[in-house]
Symmetry: C2
Subunit: 122 residues, 2 copies
DNA sequence: TTACGAGCTGGAGTGCACTCCAGCTCAAGC
DNA sequence: GCTTGAGCTGGAGTGCACTCCAGCTCGTAA
């Protein structure tokens, strides 16, 4: 796949893909005769995964760290697992905050509806 | 309360409190004889609330918008309710992403444990 | 064969959300 | 009465995560 195809398939921009490569989040792909990047399909799954880490609040630096471990091979399995476990705990905490805030917003929305009803009748 | 006390009570820095005032997220409090800000206790609940909006991913600009509506009084009840309802939907989507990613991380962690066990036995 | 578009590089620019700084005033304790 | 420290202002600086740009090279279609 060419870079524009990867961009289309992932929703990232071409610039972002090159940027991710520069910071070490994506492995530098091989090039064709004209020096253009040629991506393997497997990159799509990887981009999707780092997208999920991103969407759940993992920082760039940590994603880069994870990518580096991944690139380093089997000796980093334990370290990778520990990173994922740590992130899992962060996510659980986020979930709690979300749930609390959802509840609070439900209350506030109800309260606003009340007041709206009342002011309409004045 | 003085600004340092509000900072201590909320976990925000003094600079951040003044910054929030500058951008309209916190109402400018009255000043004492020496020109120092004097806060009402009620600000603590408000700061806590905007902190929750922040923690659940609401953008600064939207929080400022909400603060402006709030300052404008009862005629904005409907608009405020609608903002909270919109944010509630964003949060529900976040929750789904979190849950999906949690599941995925559980699988990955298990998988890594498997591999670790295996490589240990080689 | 020439025009076009995709891709390349290094580096500058952007937007967000703070964070820090210089240089000032003031109040209170010693 | 002098020092210390908290607070004040306007403005500059920071870190993150992109995003854009100039100026170049290629490969393909007309």
């Amino acid at each position: 796949m060419r870079i524009s195809e990867v961009a289309a398939a992932t929703g990232l921009s071409v610039d972002t893909l090159r940027f991710y490569e520069k910071i070490g989040l994506i492995d530098p792909p091989p090039r064709d005769g004209a020096g253009r990047r040629v991506y393997d399909d497997a990159v799509l799954a990887w981009i999707r995964f780092i997208g999920q880490l991103n969407a759940t609040g993992m920082k760039q630096a940590d994603r880069v760290q994870y990518a580096r471990l991944r690139a380093a091979g089997d000796s980093t399995l334990r370290a990778r697992r520990e990173m994922l476990e740590a992130h899992r705990e962060v996510m659980r905490a986020q979930m709690v905050t979300l749930q609390e805030t959802l509840l609070l917003l439900d209350q506030k929305v109800d309260f606003y509806r009340e007041l709206e009803g009342r002011t309409k009748n004045v």
